[in-house]
């Protein structure tokens, strides 16, 4: 990843790319230190309980302006030509029609859903959400 970093920073500065890191790390402080050490100054998200169910890291996924996956583990040598410089056509419209700021999950709604449905999936989702976001505790 550090090998990539200089070039990636340049593309981010130019406004051509957004980088999102997702860290499978239980302790955010440790993750912050790692990011500082490797000079990763792009947003890093925290997935301490692996809600995304990633089986192995690292994985890099290039996603176009329409949310379509264009390559997995892209090659730095061809990344600019085959991804950044290309204009991709939309395919289906499942994402919101315009970008909106993310919001925290509605804990009360998740709890109601779990209690009403009594399904293990709904309870698991509530549990994962409580671990990730800390319940009603304000941070």
């Amino acid at each position: 990843m550090p090998v990539w970093n200089t070039k990636l920073q340049e593309w981010v500065r130019e406004g051509r790319l957004v980088i999102l890191g997702i860290a499978q790390e239980q302790h955010p402080d440790r993750c912050r230190l790692f990011a500082q050490w490797h000079q990763l100054n792009w947003p890093i998200l925290h997935d301490p309980i692996n809600v995304m169910q990633v089986r192995g890291v690292p994985i890099e996924v290039a996603i176009d302006e329409h949310g379509i996956v264009r390559s997995l583990r892209p090659d730095l040598k061809t990344f600019e030509e085959e991804f950044l410089d290309k204009t991709f056509a939309p395919k289906g419209e499942k994402w919101p029609s315009k970008s909106e700021k993310a919001t925290r999950p509605d804990m009360a709604a998740l709890r109601r859903r779990a209690e009403q449905s009594r399904s293990s999936d709904a309870w698991r989702q509530l549990g994962d959400t409580l671990v990730l976001w800390g319940g009603t505790r304000q941070r």
Partner: protein, 59 residues
């Protein structure tokens, strides 16, 4: 036999539910807290921009 059947079912279930983005397919949206400020960030809020998602760990 019953135990083996249950284990096989669990293995298949977990495999089917794992993260497996497919080239040419819409990436599933997600919302996770940022490590810097614990504020929510969704993939879909970057619609219209090219995104490189990097899954990593410090260990």
């Amino acid at each position: 036999m019953l135990t083996w059947g249950c284990l096989s079912f669990l293995a298949v279930s977990s495999q089917a539910a794992g993260y497996s983005p497919q080239v040419g397919q819409l990436h599933p949206d997600f919302t996770l807290p940022g490590i810097a400020d614990n504020e929510p960030v969704s993939l879909s809020q970057f619609r219209g921009r090219k995104v490189l998602l990097i899954h990593f760990a410090s260990w």
